[in-house]
Amino acid sequence: MSKPLQVLLVEDNAGDARLLHEMFRKEKAGSFALTHLLRMTEAVAHLEKGGVDILLLDMGLPDGHGLDTVRRAQAAAPNVPVIVLTGLNDEALAAQAMREGAQDYLIKGQIESRALPRALRHAIERHRMQQEAELIRVNQLQFKDKFLSHVSHELRSPLNAIYQFVTILFDNIGGELTPEQHDYLGIVLRNVKQLQAMIDDLLEVTRVQGGQLAIELQCTSVAEVIAFAVSTLQGAAQAKEIALTMDLGGQLPLVCADPMRVRQILIILLDNAIKFTPPGGSVRIRASAHAQDPNTLVLEIMDSGCGIDPAMTERIFDRLFQASDPALAGRQGLGLGLYICKELVARQGGRIWASGTPGKGAVLSFTLPLFSMRNLLVAALGDIANTPTPVTLVVAEMGSQTGWLSDEARGEHSHGMRELLQRCLHADQDVLLPTMGPSGRAELFFIVAATNLAGGESLARRIQRQFDNRDPALRVGLVLSTSIHSLMAAQHGVNPSDRVSFEAVAEAIHAMVNKELSSRMVVNG
């Protein structure tokens, strides 16, 4: 005989609870085991212990309200199906609860005793099927990503060997070539490069989708990055007799971005612009302060090419999108470039869009946040400002020589965390954050890494990854202390070699989340 189904009923109304009790009593002995609790807090504690098969949840508890009760229940036990109990006039709320993930709703006073067990079993079965489908979906996605990543990695080595030997021949190192042979090899070389670019795009997309794209926000000079990108593509532009120019509009403010990623975006956009501009045309790149938003810088790439169909300005950023005009399309790659740009811009807190009229050239614009403490921290903080609980802040300073923390801070609290961080580095499992703060856990873990000491940064990054995998609810931020130093230097005239107080960062975080930091824990690793 199968085990009885463990039903948890959370209902504060004695009359409603009694009715349900009686309905369950009529069922065959041993088919259901009912636990009845009155409060949400008790229910959460009970759910966290495990063993519940299904939850019958009243949406009007004294310590829980409406949809919030459903969310809390699901946070406590994501694998337990929920049926909400509502009043006669609350069907709209019940429907919302189902959108939040509840399996079903029962209207109090209208529950038929014969239908109750069926409703429970349906809910459990449906939930199981949903989870199975989700598991299959996730597995398939992971497999696809792994497969793509593996294949593109493996394709690189032989392609690299082909590239090396073709260039050896092309440069006449293997002996003099006839002009004809030289031309033919040029075609081989062009195709090899195209293949390399496609494989790089493919790898990049698997990184984007696998969430492995590393973005290091730091104090970045856009002017330098633009100059680099322009010099990289000047040759391609000249070969097509296209004038590639830049307009940097005087002194540009620094941005909070990842220079490698901005360079990557610019190269994709400039390369596209050159591709879609006929010989003799022009491609211009301009950077200027955003007219509406003083907090951002806008970069524009303008060409004199065929322009963009207004109906397509959104779609061009879709994955695998390719221009449909056969005269222009030719063989142009996988259609991943603009998709990669969109992702890279978004992850740096910017926006990208296209404009321009067909036949009169295209403009691709994107924004980057200016370099400020706020923008530096916002990525690490995420939406923590919207969480209802106070924030527990843990700051770990890794491998610093610059003395970012005060001596007092170093002495305080550091022992337990140091041990923890070391375990995190050396063991791959069983690392838990110590209990902190009123909610019994840390909400925000902040790592500050100094790049000036060997390995500080990669050490911090490894810890960040480990925490990310272990506890998705925990926000793990990483900021390079060199960035904070340059910010302090720019704004407060602090000499980069001076000590910068931990309090300054804590205060900035405090101002942003606009709430008390419930506790601050500091450690140097």
Partner: protein, 141 residues
């Protein structure tokens, strides 16, 4: 003047051969190793002017090679250019900390590699080098 001598450490024979041809055409003498152990042995035997080192080697990797070389006072001073397919992030800093001069990510552009070899060996720049190493400095910075 005698040619400068370069030790190429890579487990892919095609990569070794291509690099050998390219370097010979630029008047460098080359010799090879394909794993961590033989690269330290070769370095001791040959005392090269420069080592071009891949990180991904069978068994012990390029980091182990650098660690071993640092232990030999006579070998610790040999400049190292690391050329690897591994992600520059996370490796660039580590490689420099381990004693290398430069980290280059594969696939390497020949003009770039040659310019950096000349720079590392303190040889005179050639036309076009400044652009390449200038860019490289920006990347590294």
């Amino acid at each position: 003047m005698a040619n400068k001598r370069i030790l190429i450490v890579d487990d892919d024979p095609d990569v070794r051969q291509a690099m050998h041809i390219r370097l010979k055409a630029n008047s460098y003498d080359t010799f090879f190793a394909s794993d961590a152990l033989s690269s330290v042995t070769e370095a001791r035997k040959q005392h090269p002017d420069l080592i071009i080192l891949d990180l991904g080697l069978p068994g012990e990797d390029g980091y182990v090679v650098m660690e071993r070389l640092q232990c030999h006072p006579a070998l610790a001073a040999i400049p190292i250019i690391v050329v690897s397919a591994r992600d520059a992030r996370g490796n660039q800093d580590r490689v420099i900390a381990a004693g290398a001069q430069v980290y280059l990510q594969k696939p390497v552009i020949n003009a770039e590699l040659l310019a950096i070899i000349r720079q590392t060996l303190g040889e005179p720049e050639q036309p076009g080098d400044a652009g390449v190493t200038g860019n490289w400095k920006l990347l590294a910075g």
